[in-house]
């Protein structure tokens, strides 16, 4: 059975801090790892990672995948209150229509 574990499950930091969110996985036939941000509505796509060691960046957010050690990290630098959200890690496997497997999410709260 595919498994995705995120840590920490919740995190409270002050504005301006840097945070690192973790995601480890055990899947058969790995295809990709995805990060989503969920505020009070639909989760929105952040990154898709398929290759080991290549950092993806978008503004203050960045993510990297380690396929040997089976984990990914999501970094957010200079955090802002608008970064407060649940961050979801998901893994896609196989070539069919099988759904993504999600972790439980990290609930990040940024205090002013």
């Amino acid at each position: 059975e595919d498994k995705v574990v995120q840590s920490p499950l919740s995190l409270v930091v002050h504005e301006g801090d840097t945070v690192t969110l973790n995601c480890s996985y055990e899947v058969t036939n790995f295809r990709s790892l995805l990060w989503y941000k969920q505020e009070k509505k639909a989760p929105t796509f952040l990154f898709m990672l398929t290759s080991s060691g290549i950092e993806k960046k978008s503004g203050r957010l960045s993510s990297i995948l380690d396929k040997k050690e089976l984990f990914s990290i999501l970094n957010i630098t200079a955090t802002q209150t608008g970064d407060s959200a649940i961050y979801l890690c998901a893994v896609g496997s196989g070539g069919g229509a099988d759904g993504l497997t999600f972790g439980k999410g990290t609930h990040l709260i940024i205090q002013p």
């Binding site: 295809r31 990709s32 995805l34 989503y36 509505k41 639909a42 989760p43 929105t44 796509f45 898709m48 979801l88 998901a90 893994v91 896609g92 496997s93 196989g94 070539g95 069919g96 229509a97 099988d98 759904g99 993504l100 497997t101 999600f102 972790g103 439980k104 999410g105």
Partner: protein
């Protein structure tokens, strides 16, 4: 802008009622999915569909059924709602293999069964 639309944002139903949750996508996506999201449990897959009239069970299909009569619409049905089905329900669609294309999510339906 591409969209996945869930018909209701909030819904309150009584125990034993038949409940329909509707999801419509305008992207001509092949695959559609229903998840429920609960605190401490994350997103769990209920059912998915890879074509019209086709459906597959996910990890927690008990107490649910689905219908996909048209490509753009995927309905989740609670035949006889129970309080343990109180949850946030998220619909998602994918152009192809989710591992290659990811999901576009709807805004969710928060269902309360009383």
């Amino acid at each position: 802008d591409v969209k996945v639309t869930q018909s209701s944002r909030y819904l309150v139903k009584r125990t034993g009622e038949k409940v329909f949750l509707e999801c419509v996508q305008d992207m001509d996506h092949e695959n559609m999915f229903w998840y429920r999201q609960d605190p401490g449990l994350g997103l769990r897959l209920i059912y998915f569909s890879y074509d019209v009239k086709m459906k597959e069970k996910g990890d927690i299909p008990e107490g649910y059924s689905v219908s996909r009569e048209k490509k753009e619409r995927f309905s989740l049905i609670l035949e006889s709602a129970s309080t343990n089905q109180t949850s946030m329900y998220l619909c998602a669609s994918s152009l192809g293999t989710p591992g290659a294309y990811g999901y576009t999510f709807g805004s969710g339906t928060r269902l309360t069964v009383v």
